[in-house]
């Protein structure tokens, strides 16, 4: 709830003389095809200083690539009667499916705590909106478990010194998109940070989608599930019969 409000206020907080960002990404659309093993996004751009002002030495850049948020249920296993089985669970309403942060210096060195929380800079500052409304300590435990899973799965990452700034005006960062990412609309946000505060921000959208054969199969499984199942059965019958016939001929 806090975030949209602050974004509305953002133009008021950023004064007219502050620098502007002109960001771009190497790919506006990533297509997942049969050989997809991940992609590398290049985020680059320029910092424009009004009135020919000299670039500040203190300017830092942070870029964030975020995947579509989704509600998830997370379960915790516990040892019951000698077996590890699912016991407790918690709901989170908005968990980004992907989150990668790259910054020109370690993020907690360049922004203060409040700013980091407001702009969701850093994995620990993500607002996952726990829905259970229970014990905050318990929510925290589940949140840590979820973040740990996402981090080790390659879905969440933080890279200090992942952004290169040259001559104080041009910046670029590389962010790896692993093969297992879910499809949807991703956002690439760029933040210009000075003296612990965000002074300019800009966003670009990136669409990640299955294409070609892969998109066709995935769509068919949902839209024409009966025909899809029938095709799977016919395929297995056909291949089984073909192998049997081929080997019979081979024997003769």
């Amino acid at each position: 709830m806090r975030r949209p409000l602050l974004l509305l206020l953002a133009p008021l907080l950023v004064s007219a003389e502050s620098p502007r960002l002109v960001p771009d990404v190497s790919q506006r659309k990533i297509e997942i095809i049969y050989s997809f093993t991940g992609a590398e996004l290049l985020l680059f751009g320029a910092i424009l200083y009004p009135g020919g002002r000299a670039p500040s030495d203190d300017a830092q850049i942070a870029v964030v690539v975020k995947g579509p948020a989704e509600p998830v249920l997370i379960r915790e296993k516990r040892k019951i009667a000698g077996m590890w089985i699912n016991a407790d669970s918690a709901d989170f309403r908005s968990v980004p499916s992907f989150y990668a942060l790259a910054s020109s210096r370690k993020i907690d060195k360049i922004v203060d705590n409040r700013t980091a929380v407001i702009y969701e800079l850093g994995i620990d500052n993500l607002q996952l909106s726990p829905a259970s409304g229970g014990d905050p300590a318990e929510d925290r435990r589940f949140e840590q478990g979820l973040i740990d899973l996402k981090r080790r799965g390659g879905y969440y990452s933080e890279t200090a010194r992942g952004v290169e700034i040259s001559e104080g005006v041009l910046y670029r960062a590389r962010i790896a998109i692993p093969a297992r990412v879910p499809v949807g609309r991703y956002t690439a946000e760029t933040f210009l940070i000075e003296k612990g505060r965000v002074i300019a921000a800009a966003t670009r959208d990136i669409d990640i989608d299955k294409s070609g054969m892969e998109a066709f199969v995935a769509r068919a499984a949902v839209r024409h599930s009966f025909l899809y199942g029938l095709f799977a059965v016919l395929l297995s019958l056909g291949l089984g019969w073909a192998a049997s016939a081929a080997f019979k001929r081979l024997r003769e």
Partner: protein
Amino acid sequence: MDLYLPIAGLSVNILVIIGLGGLVGLLSGMFGVGGGFLTTPLMIFYGIPPAVAVASSAPQITGASVSGVLAHGSRGGVDYHMGAVLVAGGALGSLLGGFLFRVLQNVGQIDTVVNVMYVLMLGGIGLVMAREAIHALVTEWRGERPSMQGKRHNPLIAMLPFRWRFYKSGLYISPLAPFLLGFLTGVMTVLMGVGGGFILVPAMIYILGMSARVVVGTSLFQILFVTATTTLIHALTTQAVDLVLTGLLLVGSVTGAQIGARMAQTIKPEYLRLALAFIVLVVAIRMLLGLTWRPPEIFTVQGL
């Protein structure tokens, strides 16, 4: 060589999956079982989501059993009458299985239930098979004649009403018995992603007392239809059948099945059964340990 699986949502190495299919096909051709009890756990171990692994192994078992049914059918080794009763039970069972799958998935216990079922079934059957195969080998080694005098009629089965004649099986029993057996394997097929051959074959011999000549063919006939039904049910309910994954598995398993069937003719059946018992027990023990060891992941995420 990597290939992206559209439903599973990840890239896999083609050769690993074809090899896995080939290995399972080899076993299924050699032992006359579908091999689902191996494919599903191995795919999950490789990183494929459990729901996709279970749903995509069903059509793979269909494919692997086709050639067996064709071969046995042409030799008169399929009791279609008995097979139809089993299939009817299996179809109803897979509907119940589909319902149970949903319920267990919603309460988050599907993995535990499936694992416990695996351990109990595989452990029990592995022990029975190993005992029987070792016994047969020992009697032969002592130079005695193997005694094949099993009990022909189970009293519980004989009590059931409405007896039918199953000519090829040489039985005059109530159709309720094979119907219930089919029903049970149908439930298992959906829940565990197995064909149920490793339950069906011993049950047909020891409980129903079917003539051995038609056991394997009829069991494969039932597996073929029930796994086909299961594929449809999964396609309609869980929507987790991955055609690309299934295709890769099939390519491996249909070839493997042919090679396995050829190899089976040259090896002594007792050794085959002992080897199968060993594999089944190893899988069961691995899964039992998996339940008691602290799992690598305490937390699991499920989309809503």
